[in-house]
């Protein structure tokens, strides 16, 4: 039994308009085998995008707690596939 991968995507306004609107559909871009492992959750704005001392590039997502900035389907897919082999 492979380990579950927790994916969180930011649903805040900023991340949403910067491309986050597609990230909720990540499962559709994965093979069924990998998609099964994923628990997908939405997250309210974490504040990381507009606190200027730690500004990160939206959209933001988290895989097993690790923040991914400037997230895209491609980027998430790569990270998830890499983790699914562990």
């Amino acid at each position: 039994m492979k380990k579950e991968i927790e994916v969180k995507v930011c649903c805040g306004t900023n991340c949403y308009i910067m491309g986050g609107s597609e990230l909720h559909l990540i499962k559709e871009h994965l093979t069924e085998e990998i998609a099964q492992l994923i628990s997908l959750k939405g997250e309210n704005c974490s504040g990381n995008c507009h606190d200027f001392s730690r500004t990160q590039k939206p959209p933001l997502a988290w895989i097993n707690g690790e923040m991914i900035e400037n997230a895209s389907i491609e980027k998430l897919k790569k990270e998830i596939v890499a983790r699914s082999h562990k």
Partner: protein, 394 residues
């Protein structure tokens, strides 16, 4: 009129089978300065375009004359003289009922050839005293109008229908003369007994649906129904944006928990603040996420939680286009609009803290200032949908 109560007025019309437009017309007008409501139901002779024109002319004239305070003789005379002659029947004719409710709750009704008006109070129909008036100047044999007066009481329902409703099913084996007033009356009583808080819209909807089903979905005449329901107002609270001063976070939270009515929070950060102060959880719900708008969230004690400015901008855009609740979409913005239109009073609380992230010139779309969007939404609700609104800034 007791200002703690409101009148919910709704109407539905259905055209005769095979006709594109309905030959009945129903008009409402709220006169805000006088706290007065005037409603007119008119049924034009025949069906289709010709009937629609007669009915529309009649209802418009009746409404304007009544608002201006003209006596009923003059109104009726003027209408009959103005209506165009039917080319085959060589008469000009349209029925009408006029209902006028003033600020003290005094109801005046004038009825000309329409089925009698029904007033439901505590599950029973009022036996209204009817005054007959003969209009001498009317060049028609049907020259009698009936007048009724009564005082509105809370939880009263007033139902006006066109004869397409009372005569549906006419000639069928089980009802030779149709549904008739008695059938309609017992149907209304049963429906209200089953659902004592049924809204005016739903009751009107039910009556017309029943009419259609009695006629086997092929109406033999235009059927219209107008329902007025005098009841406690339904209130809605919409909260959007974090308060300018952090100290007001708890004020915002208590405004929400103390509010008596439905509640919507538009804003991710706002919902987080409220949840923290109320010891509740917000969870974003991706289960029925539809692209187009950010997903909704769940929070105990709040009816709907959504993202802020994108969703509100969409609400404002759609409110600008639609004319009735039936045109709303099956989306988050549509859901918000439905909740707005099902309420009588919409209260906005807008936080005024600036979201730094929204000021980035590199954003691909323009994000408007919350305050302006709220102003526009409130404007539509007040002017197009006759709702009462209030806005508070924190």
């Amino acid at each position: 009129m007791n200002s703690a109560f409101v009148i919910e007025a709704e109407n539905i019309s259905q055209a005769k089978a095979g006709e594109a437009i309905c030959g009945d017309a129903i008009l409402f007008k709220k006169i805000k300065e006088e706290n007065r409501l005037v409603a007119v139901v008119a049924d034009g002779l025949g069906s289709g375009v010709q009937a629609n024109i007669s009915a529309t002319m009649t209802s418009t004239m009746a409404l304007q004359f009544t608002i201006a305070g003209e006596p009923v003789e003059r109104t009726a005379e003027f209408i009959t003289n103005t209506l165009p002659l039917d080319s085959k029947r060589k008469v000009s004719y349209s029925t009408f009922s006029i209902l006028d409710i003033n600020y003290r709750g005094e109801v005046k009704i004038v009825e000309y050839d329409n089925p009698p008006i029904l007033v439901l109070r505590n599950g029973e129909f009022l036996d209204l005293e009817r005054q007959e008036k003969v209009l001498d100047n009317l060049q028609s044999k049907r020259n009698k109008v009936y007048q009724y007066n009564f005082i509105l009481e809370k939880e009263d329902r007033i139902i006006m229908v066109s004869d397409g409703v009372t005569q549906c099913g006419m000639g069928s084996d089980d009802m030779h003369f149709g549904w008739q007033l008695a059938g309609l009356k017992s149907y209304i009583q049963e429906t209200v007994l089953e659902r004592p808080h049924i809204s005016a819209r739903e009751l009107a909807d039910n009556i017309i649906n029943k009419t259609c089903s009695i006629d086997n979905d092929r109406l033999k005449d235009d059927a219209s129904c107008c329902v007025l329901y005098y009841r406690r107002p339904r209130k809605l609270l919409i909260v959007t944006g974090p308060p300018f001063h952090k100290e007001n976070d708890s004020v915002l939270a208590s405004e929400i928990s103390n509010f008596n009515g439905k509640k919507i929070i538009c804003g991710g950060t706002t919902s987080k603040i409220v949840a923290k102060n109320l010891n509740a959880n917000v969870e974003i719900d991706l289960s029925n996420y539809k692209p187009g708008l950010p997903p909704q969230a769940q929070m105990q004690g709040v009816d709907l939680v959504t993202e802020g400015i994108i969703t509100l901008a969409k609400v404002s855009e759609e409110l600008n286009i639609i004319h009735s609740i039936t045109e709303t979409k099956d989306s988050l913005s549509g859901q918000i609009i439905r909740m707005m239109l099902e309420s009588d009073e919409i209260n906005f609380i807008s936080g005024t803290r600036i979201n730094n992230a929204h000021q980035d010139p590199n954003l691909p779309v323009e994000l408007e200032i919350r305050r302006n969007v709220i102003k526009r939404i409130a404007h539509h609700l007040e002017n197009k949908f006759l709702k009462k609104t209030s806005t508070k800034y924190l």
